[in-house]
Amino acid sequence: MAEGMRVGVEDRPAGSGLEQPDTADGGLDELYARHIGAGVRLAFLLTGDRSHAEDLAQEAFVRCVGRFRHLRKPDAFEAYFRRAIVNLHTSGLRRRRLEREWLSREGAASVRRVSSQPDVGAREDLWRALGTLPARQRAALVLRYYEDLSERETAEVLGCSVAAVKSLVARGGEALRERIRGEEA
């Protein structure tokens, strides 16, 4: 299994020894170097688009750094960073949905297409099916099976209950099965 954000070792500058990084300029560089790779990979699994993933991770980094000095446990940056990425991703999708609803409220003609997530590079069935899941279902699957978070940790990132995580994962899995079956039929 690839290194998820929970480790991020390969992004850490050799010998940095960062456990309680500060955010003075030097610390900012090290913090970025340590976390950005894992952040981009997580964002890529959520979005399916490499450059969008980089933007998303950088945006999440900026937002987390702003709050960094207020973190009671600075080494919890990773958890905040992960949460920010997931939230930014889902809020982006929410924007599309809101725009469609907005048009409908304002009486415009019906909307038949909302552009999908940015280009989904690979074409494997499962990957394609994953791209059709609601954002939170997809995020729950990525957090559980890529980041290897527990249900409780996943719930903390998604801001929901453990029961809701179970439901998201179960429904996401079931939807994937059905869609793959549908394509095979």
Binding site: A2, P13, T23, D25, L28, D29, Y32, A33, G37, V40, R41, F44, L45, A53, E54, D55, E59, F61, V62, R63, V65, G66, R67, F68, R69, H70, R72, R96, R100, W102, L103, S104, R105, E106, G107, A108, R112, R113, V114, S115, P118, D119, A122, L126, W127, L130, L141, V142, Y145, Y146, S150, E151, R152, G159, S161, V162, A163, G173, L176, R177
Partner: protein, 638 residues
């Protein structure tokens, strides 16, 4: 799930690996934004802390009255009042107890405090039930000096984070609520100090019930408390994550009553605050109220017997002068009146009125009348439903007819069109674009984001304005459910249509525009009232709208920018001023996925985002991306 799980694990690993190396060097624009963000957040934190101290001093003086002292029989406010059995739901826990016991919903007060407690010793109080009034700002789980009085009986239900920490979150081993209280259980010492601890689980979450009994507590009170626990329904709705300083409820809330209407269970809570009073059935917020007779509780009135926050017509509630011996709801002629339950305020709230509530199952118009001991109305009464006949201002203003579009006037310069615009933050500019783009043929709207008290986004996310009548598309019914005189004039609160759930809408008017502020239906009542009071805007010379900041209300968020939205049948174009997006990311000029976005005027942070919903509009997006210019940009003063 095993089959898909394994496939997903392999897929995720492969895909993550395909991302390849990521440059570890901090890009300059990210560094600059990070620095600005750090400075901004630091300032916000200081201001927020000041606001809490200044705003809550009076409240805390009142609600802290019960803390650290021994209650006496003279404190009992229920002498002369009818005690009833109260069943109420607090954060998913359904508890039945006599109404002269004090139940405090502590969750929103406790969560920020819990964030400062080390996780391995942390519990977060959800509620406290006691036979004396301990005020709204204390818990044995937070206060090391908390001492039980000799005749007191106190139960705290708390989310047990310490258990999660020690047992990796596995609550399976705990008994599921409802569970028994072991009367032989010895006192122990734990995260809430000494006391009797009964751990239990519900919804996979571990909780603990903590009991304190004074040495002279009556057997009756002891039995009442244990019974309340053993009959407790538990379907926890709490999110166990502490929330740091995000919310600033300076206190818990007294649980006054509970019941059920067509929409489900309701709980009437009393939460003091210094903000404008506002009535809603889930949260009755009161400030000292002058006058006599029945008062509706603040600038919002409950119309039509309908609670503002949960819908339905039940219950009717309010405040009444202490001189009243009873309150009844008078319905239409020929219908028997409904007796209301009168509830005294707890001793820690030294205000000169009582509360009342009554079921109004028929959901009909009712007038609450205060009666003396002889059943005679004691003062001119204010009908709870006095605003029923109110005609919404939406009936009295001109709207743009359906299907008709509006855009600012334009001029032609050769084969290009010039459209002067004023952004919602007051910035001005000229949009210059090829004639064939025909942006002036689209509908144009101001659109922005607002935040109250630096951190509350329960309303105003985002704020729209429309020249069309918002009824039908946005608003349900033909009548608002509340109203409030604000800076902008009368602001109405409407229920949202089903497709807008969970939002209600504040509707105000400025110039030719209807201002539309979505508020989550579960938004704090005080937040909704504050938005209604503070929202303000003025029409600009080009016919657009400039939103004004106010103390506590920031209408211009750099992350989002202040936006002019162009919309047609199948396209949306947002042009935002002062957007931090100009600092980040790469331009996306490829129209194939239906979206283009780029920074069109970096010095003003003018950012364009366009979403075409139809493939045939790809040409439009390309034309926009290659032909749109911003000229004569001037930043706003807001």
């Amino acid at each position: 799930m095993n089959d898909v799980e394994q496939d997903l694990r392999e897929l995720f690993d492969r895909k993550a690996s395909s991302v390849g190396g990521v440059a570890p060097k901090l890009p300059e624009q990210v560094r600059n934004r990070s620095r600005r963000r750090q400075v901004g957040i630091a300032l916000v934190g200081g201001l927020a802390a000041l606001a809490v101290l200044a705003g809550s001093a009076g409240v805390l003086r009142a609600v802290d009255a019960g803390r650290g002292r021994q209650p006496t029989p003279a404190d009992d406010p229920w002498v002369g009042y009818e005690v009833f059995e109260r069943t109420a739901v607090v954060q998913g826990f359904t508890i039945t107890s006599p109404s002269d016991w004090y139940m405090v919903d502590q969750w929103s007060w406790a969560r920020p405090i819990a964030a400062d407690v080390p996780r391995d010793v942390r519990t977060t109080p959800v509620l406290m039930l006691s036979n004396t009034d301990r005020g709204l700002t204390t818990s044995p789980c937070f206060d090391a000096a908390f001492a039980v009085g000799s005749e007191e009986a106190i139960m705290t239900i708390a989310a047990d984070d310490a258990y999660v920490w020690k047992h990796q979150g596995q609550a399976d081993a705990l008994p599921q609520a409802p569970t028994r209280f072991d009367s032989e259980a010895p006192e122990g010492t734990g995260v809430c100090g000494t006391g009797i601890y009964v751990p239990f689980a519900t919804e996979d979450l571990p909780f603990v019930a903590h009991f304190l009994f004074g040495e002279d507590v009556s057997e009756e009170d002891r039995t009442i408390l244990i019974r309340a626990f053993e009959t407790m329904g538990a379907q926890a709705t709490v999110d166990p994550t502490p929330i740091g300083a995000r919310r600033d409820h300076p206190s818990g809330a007294y649980v006054i009553a509970g019941g059920e209407n067509a929409a489900g269970p309701w709980t009437l809570e009393l939460r003091p605050q210094t903000e404008p009073a506002y009535v809603a059935n889930v949260q009755l917020e009161l400030s000292p109220t002058e006058g006599s007779g029945v008062v509706a509780g603040g600038p919002f009135t409950v119309r039509d017997g309908r609670p503002i926050e949960q819908g339905g017509g039940n219950p009717v509630f309010g405040a009444v002068v202490k001189a009243a011996d009873a309150v009844e709801l008078r319905l239409e002629e020929g219908t028997p009146p409904i007796s209301a339950q009168v509830v005294p305020l707890p001793p820690s709230m030294p205000f000169d009125f009582d509360l009342f509530f009554a079921s109004n199952d028929a959901d009909v118009q009712a007038t609450a009348v205060a009666l003396d001991a002889d059943g005679v109305p004691i003062a001119p009464s204010t009908p709870v439903t006095e605003e029923l006949s109110h005609t919404t201002f939406l009936d009295e203003v001109d709207h743009l007819p359906p299907g008709q579009r509006w855009a600012p006037d334009v001029t032609q310069e050769g084969n290009r069109v010039v459209m002067p615009i004023t952004f919602p933050d007051g910035a001005t500019a000229e949009l210059v674009y090829p004639t064939e783009l025909r942006l002036e043929g689209l509908n144009v709207y101001p659109d922005t984001y607002g935040v109250l008290d630096e951190n509350s986004s329960s309303c105003g996310w985002p704020v729209h304005a429309s020249r069309h009548d918002p009824r039908g598309g946005w608003l349900r019914g033909n009548q608002p459910i509340g109203g409030l005189e604000g800076r902008i004039g009368y602001v109405e609160l409407w229920e949202g249509t089903q497709s807008n759930e969970p939002y209600n809408f504040l509707i105000g008017r400025s110039g030719s525009w209807n201002i539309i502020v979505p508020c989550r239906s579960a938004a704090l009542a005080g937040d909704t009232a504050s938005w209604a009071e503070l929202i303000s805007a003025a029409e600009s010379r080009d016919g657009l709208l400039v939103f004004e900041d106010a103390p506590r209300l920031d209408m211009h968020l750099p992350e989002e920018g202040a936006t002019i939205r162009f919309s047609g049948d199948d396209v949306i174009v947002d042009v935002s001023s002062g957007s931090a997006r100009c600092d980040a990311g790469h331009p996306d000029m490829g129209a194939r996925d239906g979206v283009v976005q780029w920074c069109v005027e970096p010095s003003g942070g003018v950012y364009v985002y366009a979403n075409a919903f139809e493939p045939r509009r790809e040409d439009f997006l390309q034309g926009l991306a290659s032909g749109l210019e911003i000229r004569n940009y001037r930043p706003g003063e807001n």
